[in-house]
């Protein structure tokens, strides 16, 4: 009964989304208040309907209702409760329902928190948001309905893919979806602004929190996915340039560009058309990502294997929204005149450089991702584009970005002199070069990667510190320190996020340059050296888990005769899904991870053991989380919260009386 209600409410939500698209749009065009106001009610009702629908599906998973096809295919009675719940979105249909739910949530948030937007503008934003909802709800209901029943329910389910039965991956999709879907709100703001032909500082201020929210959740989602790949796939890789990873990385890069250009719109009323274009493209890349992940046109490690019908439908959605948005942009962008003027050397100029680098690097990722398709269709060449290409073609843009960032961040608005602006950064630069030289000296004879990473990382972190310190103005040390607490949160957010980027940059370079590995057959009781550590394989046992069988090794790690840790790497088999997984045992440290993997038994009675020492691994994800934290700090800035109530916002113009 509950499941049927869920199904029914899902259909109702489609009808409500349809109303939300049409009625407020007409109301805004005609100036009918009642019609415009319907958008808010519709957005809230749509959220309520979809929440129930989602809860009903979760209920079916929790109760192991195998009369639902989806539950049979993705669950099992023996599965731990946590994964019964997360299994709801561990598959195509359920994750699409979550996608629609989040879409409705963002629509409702615009309705709730957008009270001070001009009513016509708010109505149009809600209408566009509604139209995205219509597209995805129709896609969900007609091609991937999660509520389909089985005529003869089986006795038990087929279990969730064991790789997904993991805390890191269980919570990775919801974060990603909030990011992807949140960009639809920026898109809706852009389309509404194009329809009205008006973009001003208030628009920039309005669109920024939404973009910031999507970007920071995308950051967390991507970091979780990368962390999962690191500990789950059994050899400690953290980024594979896989089509599905790229699908999440492209909106992240464009979102970062949008975040920065919206600042220029808000503070200087320039770059308006470009910012609108970025908002359209950012959501466009979200859609392209959904297409890549769910259509199966590009083979990937983590894609939901899927049928072409869905692919075509998603391609149509992408075409309509991206094509429609760009057409509208081409027709209306000339109306968006810039007001603020500035010279080439200025904060605005630096932000333009930031945007060029981020946009071109996104383009490189995009063309690398789809090139196998293009080559096959146009040139009849079957080929692969893998990590070696992206490492060469993409990395230089990030190096350039990191090199100019600290300077750009301290340039004054409007017009600047580089020499004068750069003066306070001299210390940061000297420190960076010193650290780089030190690293170079210590690691004689290895690649230049680690020293470059060290220089850039130090430069970014020290540069962010200088940026913050500059904001405290003049005075005694004590005064300046006390002023640090009163700096607006957005400035703290900026410095923290830039510092986080530095930490990630260093972590990536150090991990790639300094990882050491040892692969060998070890007999039980045997001790061997790996780097500065002595490793002893103590025992190997077979163990039964709740829904898996495990081969678990006990391995002692010592350094200079002192025990560091004893680790238990496993190899598991999930009999229901018939799939093996490796569970590496990792001792995480600030400066290095010890990463152990147990392999197969050998004929001579020994076991294959892989030992990796991975320096600074955690810095990669710590940096990402710090970047996201910077986003949170910015988001909680007073100016965003009070902006809604001040007279500067879009809400000032009263609607003309009829």
């Amino acid at each position: 009964m509950i499941v049927e209600l869920g199904h029914f409410f899902l259909l109702l939500a489609l009808v409500v989304a349809g109303l939300q698209t049409v009625v407020p749009m007409i109301g805004a065009a005609r100036g009918w208040r009642g019609w415009m106001a319907l958008g808010e009610a519709a957005a809230t009702i749509q959220l309520a309907l979809l929440s129930f629908s989602f809860a009903a599906l979760t209920y079916a998973f929790v109760m192991s209702d195998f009369s639902l096809r989806l539950v049979t295919l993705n669950s099992h009675t023996l599965k731990p409760m946590l994964y019964k719940v997360t299994g709801v979105w561990g598959n195509h249909e359920g994750s699409m329902l979550l996608w629609c739910l989040i879409l409705a949530l963002f629509g409702a948030m615009v309705a709730w928190f957008g009270r001070d937007l001009r009513p016509t503008f708010r109505a149009r934003v809600l209408a566009v948001q509604g139209s995205v909802g219509v597209a995805f709800l129709a896609f969900l209901i007609f091609t991937s309905n999660p509520f389909l029943r089985l005529e003869v329910p089986p006795f038990d389910g087929r279990d969730l893919n064991p790789l997904l039965q993991d805390p890191g991956l269980a919570f990775h999709p919801p974060f990603l979806y909030v990011g992807y879907v949140g960009l639809s709100t920026s898109f809706a703001f852009a389309i509404a602004a194009l329809i009205e032909g008006r973009v001003d500082a208030a628009w920039g201020r309005w669109v920024r929190p939404w973009t910031l929210l999507s970007w920071l959740t995308l950051t967390i989602g991507i970091a979780l996915g990368s962390w999962w790949a690191y500990y789950e796939l059994g050899w400690g890789g953290f980024w594979f340039w896989d089509p599905v990873e790229n699908a999440s990385f492209m909106p992240w890069l464009i979102g970062a560009a949008l975040l920065h250009s919206a600042i220029v719109v808000e503070k200087r009323e320039a770059l308006k058309a470009w910012t609108i274009l970025l908002a359209i493209l950012a959501f466009g890349f979200s859609l392209i990502g959904a297409f890549i992940v769910r259509s199966g046109v590009l083979t990937s490690v983590h894609a939901f294997a899927n049928d072409p019908e869905r692919g075509i439908y998603l391609l149509i959605i992408t075409g309509v929204f991206l094509g429609g948005g760009l057409t509208l942009f081409a027709a209306r962008s000339a109306a968006l005149e810039a007001r603020g003027v500035f010279s080439t050397i200025s904060r605005e100029g630096a932000l333009v450089v930031n945007n060029v680098l981020l946009a071109v690097s996104t383009f490189v990722v995009f063309i690398g991702t789809i090139w196998p398709l293009i080559a096959e269709m146009l040139f009849d060449r079957t080929l692969s584009v893998g990590p070696p290409f992206f490492n060469i073609a993409f990395t230089p843009f990030m190096v350039a970005l990191a090199a100019v960032l600290p300077l750009g961040a301290v340039l004054p608005w409007k017009r600047a002199r580089i020499g004068r602006a750069a003066q306070p950064l001299a210390g940061a630069l000297a420190l960076a070069i010193a650290v780089g030289a030190l690293v170079w000296a210590v690691q004689t004879g290895k690649s230049a990667l680690a020293p470059v990473g060290a220089v850039l990382g130090t430069w970014l972190v020290a540069g962010a510190a200088v940026d913050l310190w500059q904001r405290t103005g003049r005075g005694t040390l004590w005064h300046r320190l006390s002023r640090l607490t009163r700096i607006p949160r957005a400035d703290w957010g900026k410095a923290v996020a830039h510092g986080g980027f530095g930490i990630t940059t260093f972590g990536v370079a150090a991990l790639v340059a300094w990882t050491t590995e040892d692969i060998r057959v070890a007999q039980i009781g045997q001790t061997y050296d790996a780097g500065r550590y002595e490793i002893t394989l103590l025992d190997v046992q077979r163990i039964e888990g709740p829904n898996y069988l495990s081969t678990m090794a006990e391995i002692r790690v010592e350094r200079g005769g002192q025990e560091v840790v004893t680790l238990f790497p496993e190899k598991r088999v999930y009999p229901v899904a018939g799939m093996p997984t490796t569970e590496a045992a990792i001792q995480s440290g600030v400066f290095r991870d010890i990463y152990l993997v147990i392999g197969d038994p050998q004929d001579n009675g020994g076991w294959t053991v892989r030992t990796f020492i991975k320096p600074f691994a955690n810095w990669i994800w710590a940096g990402a989380i710090i970047m996201a934290l910077g986003g949170v700090l910015s988001l909680t800035d007073r100016r965003f919260r009070v902006a809604a109530g001040t007279r500067k916002t879009l809400g000032t113009d009263p609607v003309p009386a009829e």
């Binding site: 796939l233 146009l378 080929l383 057959v521 018939g578």
Partner: protein
């Protein structure tokens, strides 16, 4: 029941990635083998190099790479040997030849284009801030106009 599951487990246990018995004695040669393997795709896998893959085919390819190295082939010759047998698809780093040139130059070309556009935009921004001095023709015309007024 348990023994059935155990049997199942042993059957489905995959041959893991690079095994100790595949390693070459000569560490310099082995390092070259690793480098080459990381640039070759496991043909039956989804986007994994033969160095990372558990598949039997990947193991065969790793052994071929090591065999060729032992036979004295250069790195390029080993890669060419693999491409001859398995096709261009095996290369994770696509060759910069023919239509692939588009892929390789796309980034730099886009950077130049975008950089040019941005620079033009910035220059206009600068021009608006400090207008260009009038040309001599314009000066003359201005003077004429002012004279007419007077």
């Amino acid at each position: 029941m348990r023994s059935v599951l155990l049997a199942l487990m042993l059957l489905s246990a995959p041959a893991a990635a690079l095994e100790p018995n595949e390693l070459l004695e000569d560490s310099a040669l082995e390092a070259r083998a690793r480098d080459i393997s990381q640039g070759l795709r496991c043909l039956v896998c989804r986007n994994e190099s033969i160095d990372e893959s558990n598949a039997a085919l990947a193991r065969d390819m790793r052994l071929v790479v090591r065999e060729r190295l032992l036979a004295g082939d250069s790195d390029a010759a080993v890669v060419a040997y693999i491409v001859d047998r398995y096709g261009e698809y095996a290369l994770l780093r696509p060759r910069a030849t023919g239509s692939n040139l588009i892929l390789w130059i796309a980034g730099p070309v886009m950077l130049i284009l975008a950089g040019g556009l941005a620079f033009g935009y910035l220059r206009r921004g600068g021009a608006a801030l400090a207008p260009d001095p009038l040309s001599s023709d314009e000066e003359a015309r201005l003077r004429r106009l002012l004279d007419d007024e007077g």
